[in-house]
Amino acid sequence: MKIERTKKAVGVGTWYAAALLLALVFAVPFLWMFLSALKPANEIFVNPPILISSHYSLANFGRVFQQAPFGRYLFNSFVVSAVVTVAGLIFHSMSGYALARLEFPGRNFLFIGILSTLMVPFYTILIPLAVIVRHLGWMNTYWALIIPAIPHAFGIFWLRQFFLGLPRDLEDAARIDGASRVGIFLFVALPLARPVLAALAVFFFLANWDAFLWPLIATSRPEMRVVQVGIQAYTGEHGNAWELIMAASLIAILPTLFLFFLLQRFIVASARMTGLKG
């Protein structure tokens, strides 16, 4: 009996040690980023590392905005992510609803066509897309950053799956009351889709906020750079201003961290949504 108990205690102890060690591996980079963002430049690379400093200040955050148009980068990222998310949700819920709930010639063909675009990898269309966007005269404009990012079969697919699962009686009842198809979509189906829309919104916003390769190619003027590309403004030939890079990185992840803690339920839901029901 006693041996059993000790065995169990050792098991729990090992479990805790493993879980804590992992937690350190995941948390320390965040902590180090945070501390470094508060340090003056001459304390960044001191061995042994300085944990408690009397020189901690918010001065680096001010310099981040002075040395590069970082406010503009943030604004650009926000506008692009927000517009893509909202437009995407509107268009995808319309498409998803039509594919799930309306009958029309060519529905299966269209659905399969839309689904097959999921196989098109971004890097393959990168070059032609740059050519098209250049021809449209969209380089260094919001159009280039926003419009190509909106069409996305993933969102259409998930909203279609959701609308397929809605009980038909709800719509039939609304039809008896004389509601139009558009009315049913707007006032019956959409309000019920709120949880899926929220999960997709988080997913879209994060994906666009984190996008790097396309904004790198589609923009070259500093005032059109987004945050992910702009962080490199603090790297230079004569070395990197790490205290500024870390301060800028911290600002760059704040919106996502905020979304993450506020909407953890939806993020976990969107992760599950991506993974399950394959």
Binding site: A100, I127, P151, Q161, F260, R272
Partner: protein, 333 residues
């Protein structure tokens, strides 16, 4: 793969809507037999449905055609030309693809891409599975651990790369200081040919395991409790329960995770770009880095497009192989 049984349902309703007798419950509910009038209403309703559906689909379909289908087609077309922006493109047949076969840098980049992938996929899968197993029990401390493990997911791969470049700084980065304190040799990390690949793998693994842990955790928690309890009653150890009950049931989710990881690994770019730009001495020169350089630094659009089509073919074939392997495995069970 993504179609659940439900997805087949839209095949059946058309008959329901088209047939007068069974369909249109709304019409029947509205009143007694009205004959021709109700046929007209059904007709109008069908026209309304089709009109609304086409209007609803218009923005997305136009967008997908113009910004996905057309570019995909163009990628293949450009891949058969020698377009370099300066001079007008000419069709050169398969020359770009022949050149790839003899281009040592292409071979090296392909090798780097595959090395990255075979290092990345199993590591992320095993770590996220281990973490999911560690946190299977629903308890308050597990929720806290889960939140911490998931935190890097909130970071973009680019910022993860930047942060790890800082942590792995060869002179006085935090990691080297820790190694020094433990009396271990300091490493050059991204600065040396031997450790550069490891250095670009670390942020990608660190950022991704939390995400796949959530997916696998959901899969584990969906295993019916009765199965586990029955196995435990039969005297199975917890380890045996994982090995023989949970893992087999987790196969569909695992397959999904491995496919997604492979597709992602074959097209990594962000953290490599910001940490090493493919160096030193091409140690981290993956295919996407090569494509980017050829297209947007040297403006060899034809050759770069051909390489991107080749990479697409590679990913397509790998996914098919994985699917076949998984199917065969499933049939055997």
């Amino acid at each position: 793969m993504p179609t659940s049984p439900r997805a087949n349902k839209p095949g059946s309703p058309p008959e329901k809507g088209a047939g007068l007798g069974s369909g249109a419950p709304a019409e029947r509910a509205r009143g007694p037999v009205r004959g021709p009038a109700s046929i007209r209403t059904v007709d109008r309703d069908r026209r309304e449905q089709a009109l609304v559906a086409y209007l609803f689909l218009l923005p997305d379909v136009v967008g997908l055609l113009f910004f996905l289908a057309l570019p995909m087609l163009l990628a293949v077309v450009i891949g058969f030309t020698n377009w370099n922006v300066v001079t007008a493109p000419q069709f050169i047949g398969l020359q770009n693809f022949i050149r790839m076969a003899t281009d040592p840098l292409f071979a090296a980049s392909l090798g780097r891409t595959l090395l990255y992938t075979v290092s990345f996929v199993p590591t992320v899968y095993l770590f996220s599975l281990g973490m999911a197993v560690l946190l299977t029990r629903r308890s308050r401390s597990n929720v806290i651990f889960r939140t911490i493990y998931f935190m890097p997911v909130a970071m973009s791969l680019l910022v993860a790369g930047v942060t790890w470049r800082f942590l792995l700084d060869p002179n006085a980065g935090l990691v080297n200081m820790l190694l020094g304190a433990l009396h271990l040799p300091k490493l050059q990390w991204a600065g040396s040919v031997q450790t550069a690949m490891l250095s670009v793998l670390i942020p990608a693994i660190w950022k991704n395991v939390g995400y796949f842990m959530i997916i696998l955790l959901a899969g584990i928690q969906d295993v019916p409790r009765e199965y586990i309890e029955a196995a435990l009653l039969d005297g199975a150890s917890p380890l045996q329960v994982y090995r023989h009950v949970i893992l087999p049931l987790l196969k569909p989710v695992s397959f999904f995770v491995v496919v997604i990881l492979t597709i992602g690994a074959l097209q990594t770019f962000d953290q490599i770009y910001v940490m090493t730009r493919g160096g030193p001495a091409y140690a981290t020169h993956t295919l996407l880095i090569y494509i980017y350089e050829k297209a947007f630094k040297e403006w060899k659009l034809g050759y770069a497009a051909a390489m991107s089509v080749a990479l697409f073919a590679l990913i397509f074939i790998l996914t098919l192989i994985q699917m076949r392997y998984f199917r065969a495995d499933e049939r055997r069970d």
